[in-house]
Amino acid sequence: MAAPLIEARAWAPYPSRAEAGGGKNPLWTPLDFAFRPGDRVLLDGPSGCGKSTFLLALAGLLSVQRAWSETGELRRTDRRRGYLFQNPADRFCTVKAEDELAFGLENRGLPPAEIDRLVAEAAHRFGLETLLDRQVNRLSGGEQQRLALAALWAEDPEILFIDEAMSQLDAAGRCILLAAYDHWSYAHPEGLAVAVDHRADLWEGRFTRVLRWRDGSWVERNKLGDLGLKTTAPIRDGGRPSAPPAPHPKPNRASGTVVASCERLVLARPGGGSRWNHEPIDLKLRAGNIHVITGPNGAGKSMLLKTIAGLAAAHSGEVRHGPITLRKPPRTKKEWKALGARVSMALQNPELQFGAGLVKDHDADPPENLGLREHLGKSPFELSLGQQRRLSLSMLGADRPLLLLDEPFYGQDRGNTRILIDYIRERAANGTAVVLVCHDEDLSHALADELFHWDGMRLSRKERKPFYPWWEADR
């Protein structure tokens, strides 16, 4: 049997500050494991259990963020590592796309001519030739993802760490990621991949081992069925779990009073405010309905929501909220108050909504309704991303006729996804018009009274299909 690439003996990390306080509090019960060449490992567990911390510790990166110590021993070979973060942009270290591709190669100490060759090859393979001179900040979400994957591909890691890389991606983005992963896996049969993901089914049987969080530690499983997904096939043979799809009960058409509408709306790009090149948008948002907007990364879905909410200026056309007509954000306090009585919005980055004080000080709905009961005495900035997102939702006024939610399911495990589904349905049942931007196809089809697809050029009504209720899998 080949020597392990990563091997742990009675190993568990703990924050050094705890040691200063007189006691060691390891993050989990000390573990023994060995990851060998060819292993493809998946870590699964609920939000906040420490999956990302586990991955950082495995990669030897935990001490970059805080002071950590560890009990036991973790041994890893010095093979080349590659780390893919949740947000592709988190991987960027430079300003321009071309420098980003070269950065990892320079760190490997390759000669400049070889770096030039590999940069050109990676750019060609991932279709980035025309973007090399662009600033990474100015790339769309999809382009950023391709750039991050191209840089990773060029660096040619032998050990790959993947931290919920699927969570922010649309269907096309997931295909690109899976293709890049398959290419890596084929090229490195003796390599090691360790991934964290809530959605094992999206990886379609690419993992051979599973570690699942249970009773305060990681337990090894080797079947999707052990993850609570309804299949008995070993995951190496599996694909998407074979649970019967749920038929959609309703036609794709909303009815009810119009609470807001967009008329010939054309979005403005951030920064200069230049025209977004798309067909004018006409949209009616009706009370008691859930309107879901899907679309590729970087198409402008968040900008559409911000424009409807009056947080960003439109290029042309207008948004109507009853008697209020908007093209740009209101100016006076009175105008903001009038608009705020009709609209509330949860931002994609929930931290922008928080201020000083603890979770319990962030008023509006009681946060415990959204599964935050244990965290009332913490600062909102200490919460995990999924918890922050739920807190940001609880801060939205319950009496506004229009509720805009930008990717509320991002970072949520199955249990918390169910809590959010109930919350959104309850708001709609109480007469609120809900507009939801969502990448998850199954959730979109399950929740929508009216489903739209926005590809950055045109907003079109989309036929709903039967969906796989993955969030019910471990009930």
Binding site: L56, L61, V64, Q65, R80, R81, G82, Y83, F85, D90, R91, F92, C93, T94, V95, K96, D99, A102, F103, G104, L105, E106, N107, R108, G109, L110, P112, I115, D116, V119, Q135, V136, N137, E155, P270, G271, K306, A309, G310, L311, A312, P329, P330, K333, K334, W336, L339, G340, V343, S344, M345, L347, N349, E351, L352, Q353, F354, G355, A356, M395
Partner: protein
């Protein structure tokens, strides 16, 4: 300008900035400002917008300082010296902006390759180029969100906290990314960065022009002090 060594731009800009803060003659300072102006306008990728920004903001700050001198004159203040204070912001902003016309990536690289600063500082400087515009966008969005929620923009503290956290997180994430991608002092550099004869010529030309102007101004108005020993 595009092909100049970033360190040459840094040397010239810093020397003029330091000199402008200690010299108290408006004629000298005005001349140095004109030199920076000419360079800015001649610089393909910065002019003329950069020139307008530098001149406009310098004039505004100068007016502010002038009003301040008029309202609250220092004991024994002389109006001639007050003019130097009024003109100084124009010089400082012109030269600072001229420095910013360097390619930010190359400039940051030069901090390590020429000035021997630690690599982590170099890439910290690069990260700030990337994150500052994003922070400005986040601030505008957070302000508007608070107005939408409560009609008010919120207190300075409530507005600053998320931005501060966001900036700290971005910094921590950058450090993590650098480590994850194997940043090491043993790295190679894809782009050559050599000090060439044209860099020496450029530094000599700018410093020579600055010194010549200061000398000419001294001769023109003999008796005017270039340096009075006070900062």
């Amino acid at each position: 300008m595009k092909n100049l060594h970033p360190a040459a731009l840094t040397i010239v800009s810093l020397l003029f900035i330091i000199a402008a803060t200690v010299v108290h003659d408006p004629l000298v300072i005005g001349g140095w400002s004109l030199i920076a102006s000419a360079l800015l306008l001649g610089c393909r990728f910065a002019a003329p917008r950069a020139w307008l920004i530098a001149t406009g903001s310098g004039i505004l700050m100068g007016i502010g300082l002038g009003v301040n001198h008029g309202l609250f004159p220092a004991p024994g203040a002389d109006p001639y010296r007050a003019w130097a204070h009024v003109l100084r912001p124009i010089v400082l902003i012109h030269w600072s902006l001229f420095l910013s016309s360097a390619d930010p990536v190359l400039w940051a690289e030069s901090l390590h390759r020429f000035w021997r600063l630690p690599l982590s500082w170099t890439y910290g400087a690069q990260a700030s180029f990337r994150f500052l515009p994003l922070l400005a966008e986040d601030k505008a969005l957070a302000d508007n969100w608070r107005r939408l929620r409560s009609g008010r923009k919120g207190t300075i503290v409530s507005n600053l906290i998320p931005l501060l956290v966001s900036a700290l997180r971005s910094g921590a994430q950058s450090a993590l990314a650098l480590e994850a991608r194997g940043l090491s002092p043993a790295r190679t550099w894809r782009r050559p960065m050599k000090w060439k004869a044209q860099d020496t010529f450029y530094v000599a030309l700018c410093l020579g022009a600055g010194a010549a102007w200061a000398f000419a101004a001294f001769k023109l108005r003999s008796g005017i002090r270039l340096w009075d020993g006070a900062f």
